[in-house]
């Protein structure tokens, strides 16, 4: 068969797609738990994106005629004390969870890794001072630090994001610093310095890309935890505020008060939190195993 430009085109186009699919198949086969995690994450993302289309009701609309109705044909997961549909609010709640979770872990990872890399790069006294400051942050339980930041900034999704990111910065900085210390000794860093590049360029262009693996691992590990923290803060009434749909918030107040007569209010949002965090943790674990050769099982 003569090789026409068309077949060449087809070959080159078909090949990467096949590789892409087989990579997924390999992942599923080798890391079934990670694949389950990825599936849960995809489901949650799909929920967040399509909430406006698939949700049967308006998440903010009170329907006092249908207050506390049990799960049934009308309301699959029942309604809450304001007559709002629980399923709808869970669907919309995935938006809050993902937004705050992604935002917080992104912020935490960015600032944490910049501090960590810079601390390792400059070394000496700078490193010492930065590490002592990080020690101070480490002495606070995570939720106490987050609560203190909320007290300063106030509640609401944006502030909660910052509050959750704060305790993550020092933890990310510490892990990234230890990886960056090894990178600093690499000949290419000396070469970059000898070429007269500035500190900023060396840190951002030469060191940061080489510690991407631990950063990625930290960021995924944070994601699940950030979602959990958001739920905790909202449950305390110090996170996302009513009437926004948020899973932690749905468990607050009436859900506990009417737990005996309307247990669906307390069960389903908690299930959503657990399942979402479970997915991120499963995926994060597999990612860590895949990226960190030391932990690879033989």
């Amino acid at each position: 068969m003569a090789v026409t430009p068309q077949t060449v085109d087809e070959l080159t186009r078909a090949a990467p797609r096949a590789r892409w699919i087989s990579a997924i198949v390999d992942f599923v086969r080798q890391r079934p738990l990670g694949a389950i995690g990825a599936a849960i994450i995809l489901l949650m993302t799909a929920m967040a994106v399509t909430a406006g289309l698939i949700a049967p009701y308006n998440p903010l609309e009170n329907d006092y005629a249908a207050m506390l109705s049990p799960p049934g044909a009308e309301h699959w997961l029942g309604t809450d004390a304001h007559g709002r549909d629980v399923l709808t609010r869970i669907l919309y709640g995935s938006r809050t969870a993902l937004m705050v979770g992604l935002g917080a872990s992104l912020l935490g990872a960015i600032f944490g890794s910049l501090i960590g890399v810079a601390s390792a790069y400059f070394g000496g006294r700078v490193d010492l001072i930065v590490q002592r400051i990080m020690d101070v942050f480490f002495a606070f339980p995570v939720i106490i630090l987050a609560l203190a930041v909320v007290a300063v900034l106030g509640t609401g999704a944006g502030n909660v994001m910052l509050a959750i990111a704060t305790p993550m910065v020092p933890r990310c900085a510490r892990v990234v610093r230890s990886s960056a210390l090894a990178v600093r000794e690499m000949p290419y860093i000396d070469a970059a310095r000898a070429s007269g590049f500035g500190h900023r360029r060396i840190i951002l262009r030469h060191m940061l890309p080489n510690v991407m693996a631990p950063i990625l691992i930290m960021a995924t590990a944070f994601l699940g935890e950030a979602i959990l923290l958001e739920a905790s803060l909202s449950f305390l009434g110090l996170g996302v505020q009513e009437p926004t749909a948020a899973w932690g918030l749905m468990l607050r107040g009436a859900a506990v008060e009417f737990a005996e007569s309307a247990p669906w209010m307390a069960i389903f949002p908690g299930l959503a939190i657990s399942l979402g965090v479970f997915g991120f943790n499963l995926f994060g674990d597999s990612l860590r195993d895949a990226l960190d050769p030391r932990l690879r099982t033989q």
Binding site: L147, A148, L236, A259
Partner: protein
């Protein structure tokens, strides 16, 4: 060793000072103060400015920041935490009972966590890549994913529906009525302990896997020793150190970090006290609480390091 201990103790001072400065400044950035908070709850927002200023003067809030800070520090140096700005009672009195509750809960939760984590982790490592391993891993990742406050709600709900009984909601100290006390605290301890066992289980599993690949384990097996004996005598001893470290650090955080669980079980622990203190803008009480939790954390850290050197003769500090 003595030199190392001294050095570590001295190194705590700058960290604690940093914690003090941080919480002191953070609180001053929080909008409003205790005087405003008090008048707001009393509903009389139209209090005269003079009265409020007088109140501030009484509490020392009119002093410049550095003066407030140094007098607070001077108090701490004498182990005097002062009076709560909100209730006017001595802070040691305010904290005493709540500290006992939080400490007991933390100890119970971390005991439960260890009882779960160590056997499960060993089991998962020995049966690596079988369904047992998968089941243990799913159980522990699920533990990490389940918010302990939701687990608490489910527990109360189950007891309510199945046994028509809920745990006592008023705290009884252990020395007054141990039975009542345990009937109340066992549930939050289980909810929290399950979650924290997850961290330990995973650590135990990976540490055990590493040790099982060592030459001396192969030698022991080649000699024909029982697997149980190998695990107990050779493997566990070497694998348990990092697990105990991680779990003690978690324990240190349990003291102040159970805010949400305390809320669910209606426990007046340090976490709830912190939330109350911050919402009242009770500077002195919040500061004292944070210093207490941070000091506790640093000391647990310190003892873990010392214990390391003591248990593992290969580690020597300078």
């Amino acid at each position: 060793m003595a030199y190392y201990i001294l050095k570590r103790l001295l190194a705590m001072i700058p960290t604690l000072l940093g914690v003090a400065v941080l919480i002191f400044l953070l609180l001053r950035v929080v909008p409003g103060d205790v005087v405003e908070a008090r008048y707001l709850t009393q509903g009389s927002q139209f209090q005269s400015q003079d009265l409020m200023d007088l109140e501030r003067k009484k509490l020392g809030l009119d002093q410049p920041l550095w003066k407030q800070f140094t007098s607070w520090m001077a108090g701490i140096a004498r182990l005097d935490f002062g009076l709560s700005m909100w209730t006017g009672a001595p802070i040691t009195e305010e904290i005493k009972l709540r500290f006992a509750l939080s400490l007991q809960l933390a100890i119970m939760a971390s005991l439960i966590a260890q009882v779960l984590a160590i056997p499960l982790g060993i089991l998962a490592a020995v049966k690596q890549d079988t369904w047992v391993d998968y089941a243990v891993r799913v159980f522990s990742i699920a533990g990490l994913a389940t918010p302990s406050f939701w687990l608490g709600i489910l527990m109360i709900l189950t007891m309510l529906i199945v046994f028509k009984w809920i745990p006592p909601m008023v705290f009884t100290p252990l020395w007054v009525n141990p039975w009542e006390n345990l009937a109340q605290l066992i549930w939050p301890a289980l909810a929290v302990g399950y979650r924290y066992s997850a961290v330990g289980t995973r650590m135990m599993r990976s540490a055990m896997l590493e040790v099982l690949r060592e030459d001396y384990i192969r030698t022991a097996r080649a000699k024909g020793l029982w697997l149980k004996l190998i695990l107990a005598r050779h493997a566990l001893k070497n694998a348990i150190l990092p697990v105990l470290t991680v779990m003690s650090l978690e324990f240190a955080f349990l003291l102040g970090g159970l805010v949400v669980t305390e809320q669910v079980f209606n426990l007046n622990g340090l976490g709830m006290l912190f939330v109350e203190a911050i919402s009242h803008r009770d500077y002195t009480l919040t500061q004292a609480l944070v210093m207490l939790v941070a000091t506790f954390f640093l000391f647990v850290n310190f003892f873990v390091d010392i214990a390391y050197a003591w248990i593992d003769p290969r580690i020597r500090y300078r």
